[in-house]
Amino acid sequence: MAEKLRALTEVDRLVHEPARLLLLTILNTVASADFLFLQRETGLTKGNLSAHLSRLEAAGYVEIEKTFKGKLPLTVCKLTTKGKKALTGYRQQLQDFIQKTSEA
C-alpha cells in the first residue's frame, strides 16, 4: 500500500500545481488562447499568470507568441506536443493511482 501511495510523488510537479494544471487543461481544449482569456478563466493576477506561463514555456510545454489580430495586439499561448504528452501522462498517472488505491 505504501508503494502505491508513493507513486503519487512521481507525478510531474510542473503539471501537478493547480494553476498550471488548469492552464494546461484550457490550452489542451483549444488551438491557442490569449493572455486575457487565460487570466479571466483562471482568475489569476497578471503577475501570477505570467510566472506560471514562463515556467511552462521554459519547460517546453507552452509556446508564447506576441501577434496581432487585425489591429488588436495579442499575447497568444499554445500547448506544444511535449506539453500535451505531459498533461496526458499526468492524467493517466492520477487515474492509475486512484484505481490502485481504491482496489486496496
Binding site: L21, V30, A33, D34, F35, L36, E41, G70
Partner: protein
C-alpha cells in the same frame, strides 16, 4: 478532479457562443435568404430574373456563408477579444475539408430540390415543413447538444413549429419559405442580440488594454 477538468473543457468550448454574435449574423443571413425566396415568388415563374435567381442560389448560399464568417470574425475582434480574450479552436484540416464539401453538396441539394419542387411537382408547401425540421434538427439542435445552451434548443423548437405551421398556412408558393427564413432570422437575431447585450453589460472593456 477529472469531472472538474471536464467541466472546464465544456465551458471553454461554449465560449464561442457567449457573445451571441454568431446568431446575430446568422439571423441576418436568414433574413436575406427569406427575401431571396419572397422576391422569386413576387417576380413569378416566367421572369428571366427569377430564372437567374434560381440558378444562382448556390452562389448566394456559399457567398452568404463566406460573408457571414468574415462578419463574425470582424465583430468578435472589435467587441469580444478586447473584453474577454481571444481563443482559436482546434480545426482538423481533413475534417474541415470534408465539412466544406458536405456544405457545398447540401447547398447544391437545396437548390436542386427547390427547383424541382417548384417546376415539376408544385408541392412547394412540403419544402417549408422539411426545411423547418431540417433547420431545427440538424443545424440548431446539434449545435445545442455540442454547446449545451438552452437557447439553441428553443430556437430548434421554434424552427420545427414554424416550418410545420407555414406548410399548412395556405400562403402562395415562395412566400411561405420566405416567411420561414425571415421569421427564423428574426428569432436568431433576437436571441443573438439579447445575448450580446447581456455580454457587453457583464464584460466592460478592461481599463488596462496592455497584456
Amino acid at each position: 478532479m477529472e469531472n472538474n477538468l471536464l467541466h472546464v473543457e465544456q465551458r471553454i468550448k461554449r465560449y464561442w457562443y457567449t457573445d451571441g454574435i454568431g446568431e446575430l449574423i446568422g439571423g441576418g443571413m436568414f433574413i436575406l435568404l427569406g427575401g431571396y425566396f419572397a422576391l422569386q415568388e413576387f417576380l413569378g415563374q416566367n421572369s428571366i430574373i427569377s430564372a437567374i435567381l434560381q440558378v444562382s442560389l448556390i452562389v448566394v448560399l456559399i457567398g452568404g456563408m463566406a460573408l457571414g464568417r468574415w462578419l463574425i470574425h470582424t465583430l468578435k475582434a472589435q467587441l469580444t477579444y478586447p473584453r474577454t480574450g481571444y481563443v482559436e479552436y482546434e480545426v482538423d484540416a481533413h475534417r474541415m475539408k470534408s465539412r466544406r464539401i458536405w456544405v457545398m453538396m447540401l447547398a447544391f441539394a437545396i437548390s436542386a430540390l427547390t427547383m424541382v419542387f417548384v417546376r415539376l411537382f408544385q408541392a412547394f408547401d412540403s419544402i417549408v415543413a422539411v426545411t423547418g425540421v431540417a433547420v431545427g434538427l440538424i443545424l440548431v439542435i446539434l449545435r445545442a447538444k455540442s454547446a449545451g445552451l438552452t437557447r439553441f434548443y428553443v430556437l430548434g423548437a421554434v424552427s420545427i413549429v414554424l416550418g410545420l405551421a407555414l406548410s399548412v398556412s395556405g400562403l402562395p408558393n415562395g412566400y411561405s419559405l420566405g416567411l420561414f427564413y425571415g421569421l427564423m432570422g428574426l428569432s436568431f437575431m433576437l436571441s443573438g442580440g439579447l445575448t450580446l447585450q447581456r455580454y457587453l453589460e457583464e464584460n466592460p472593456l478592461p481599463r488596462d488594454a496592455e497584456q
